[in-house]
């Protein structure tokens, strides 16, 4: 078993038993982004062998403060699995996670296949069928979120689950046209306002996140497929959760999405 395979298995077990493991970068400080993606790829194969399906991607580390905290200047990505997709209003069991937090995000639904490199923001916009209101539950199988870039990339970019609204709002340019950068978001917990944000918090433009993802995946010969969901990154600082919490993220143009923590 190679070192990469061993790491993928360690994360697979951590997910299965919901028990955190120490950061890989503790023992191997030299691990980088490419090492992380190699582990991620093997881990995904293990999960797909169990019957899971990739329904889209999340892009993380899209906010300037997060990138500064990890000392990097690029986002990262991971797959979103069918088994972790919830609907608006669903109860999400807290014990499905290790150390979960909530993030409100604009989620795009892809209409056309998009394959990098060379995808522009304009092309990305044209390929997007529309947007839905999204809430990502991020989670770290690495102890106490003590992550460096290689650790979080290996750990599916710290994705835990997602919930999305069901009405896909097209990005048309007519009288109802809108700019994802300027979409406002209000996040409440148990009816109390906890934070606000706007689309531009994600890499300056959520559509640019899609172009980045297509170009980055394109380097590995992977395309974004019609119907794929793209989680474009948090519009505020992630929040911890407790049983009984009700989180509601309301987006201008897109409407609300609610998650209940069971």
């Amino acid at each position: 078993m190679t070192d990469t395979t061993a790491k993928a298995h360690a994360l697979y077990e951590a997910r299965r038993t919901r028990t955190a493991i120490p950061p890989f970068t503790d023992a191997e400080p030299g691990l980088g982004m490419d090492d992380g993606y190699a582990v991620q790829q093997e881990l995904v194969q293990l999960l797909l062998a169990d019957g899971d399906r990739v329904v889209g991607h999340k892009v993380g580390l899209t906010a300037a403060p997060m990138q500064k905290a990890l000392g990097i200047d690029t986002p990262d990505y991971g797959p979103v699995l069918a088994s972790t997709a919830y609907r608006d209003g669903d109860a999400v069991p807290l014990d499905a996670f290790v150390a979960p937090k909530v993030e409100a995000e604009i989620v795009f639904v892809l209409g056309d296949r998009l394959e990098g490199p060379g995808v522009t923001v304009t092309q990305a916009r044209a390929a997007i069928a529309g947007a839905v209101a999204g809430m990502e539950i991020i989670d770290s199988r690495i102890a106490d979120w003590r992550i460096k870039l290689a650790d979080t990339v290996a750990d599916l970019a710290s994705n835990g689950a997602m919930a999305t609204s069901s009405r896909i709002v097209p990005l048309d340019d007519g009288p109802n046209g809108w700019d994802p950068r300027l979409v406002g978001m209000v996040l409440t917990r148990n009816g109390e306002l906890v934070d606000t944000g706007a689309g531009a918090a994600a890499l300056g433009d959520p559509v640019a996140v899609v172009a980045w993802l297509a170009n980055t995946l394109g380097e590995h010969g992977v395309a974004l497929e019609p119907g794929h969901l793209i989680l474009t990154g948090a519009l505020h600082a992630a929040l911890p959760m407790n049983p009984g919490d009700v989180f509601r993220a309301e987006f201008d143009r897109l409407g609300p999405v609610t998650v209940r923590i069971a």
């Binding site: 300037a64 809108w178 700019d179 950068r181 300027l182 979409v183 406002g184 978001m185 209000v186 109390e192 306002l193 934070d195 606000t196 944000g197 706007a198 689309g199 531009a200 918090a201 300056g204 519009l235 309301e250 987006f251 201008d252």
Partner: protein, 254 residues
Amino acid sequence: MSVNVSELAARLSKAVADRTAITKLTDEFPELDIPTGYRVQRELRSAAGEIAGWKLGVTSRAKQAQVGVDSPIYGFLPAAGAVDLGEPLDTSALIQPRCEPEIVFTLGRDLKGPHVTAADVVAASSGVAVGIEVLDSRFMDYGFTMADVVADNTSASRFVVGVPVTTSGVDLRLVGVLLEKNGEVVATASGAASLGHPAAAVAWLVRQLAAEDEGLAAGQIVLSGGLTAAVPVRPGDVVTATIDRLGSVELGCR
């Protein structure tokens, strides 16, 4: 020893004229409380000449929790503080300017009363606009208690206001807010960042003014509260505030 309101107002006016920060008033006068702070502010207002309107401060629930209060504060806007669209901000006239994005209400008619609500504010407004408020605390490094900052007219200094649009059909709670400095996004928010709804912040102001038998006058503007943390500016900086459906204003600093 009782606080000499006129003397404190004079100290603050001198700090403005000298462009020099002073130590906070409560260091020397720990008995200065918020009501007395408003008396100092009224003294400043009576000497300020024409008033363009009003402004809210500490409208973010997070900030209120941080400083241990549960309501906002208000100040007045001297008409002389207006910076027109396209006009640069002369930072040499200021001490330590910081900029924040605002939703600005323009009153279409007088509004006064102890029971005014957010809906009344929207109905009385002829329009809303995007704006930038330039804060300039007269206290060193923005170090102050609530009583100090109230006395210091809530750090009010300059403001630039875009061309108003009508309020009909705009949900000011949900509009996205973008603050850029030198072309980079420095903060985002939505309108709800001010007290849950910017019109609710203005309604709070009107109820406070009613206690003093005052109100908002037709044609006055209200800056309804900073929607993000304020960003410090220096000569050469350009700050842009963009609010969905309301447009953008840009402020160049020299």
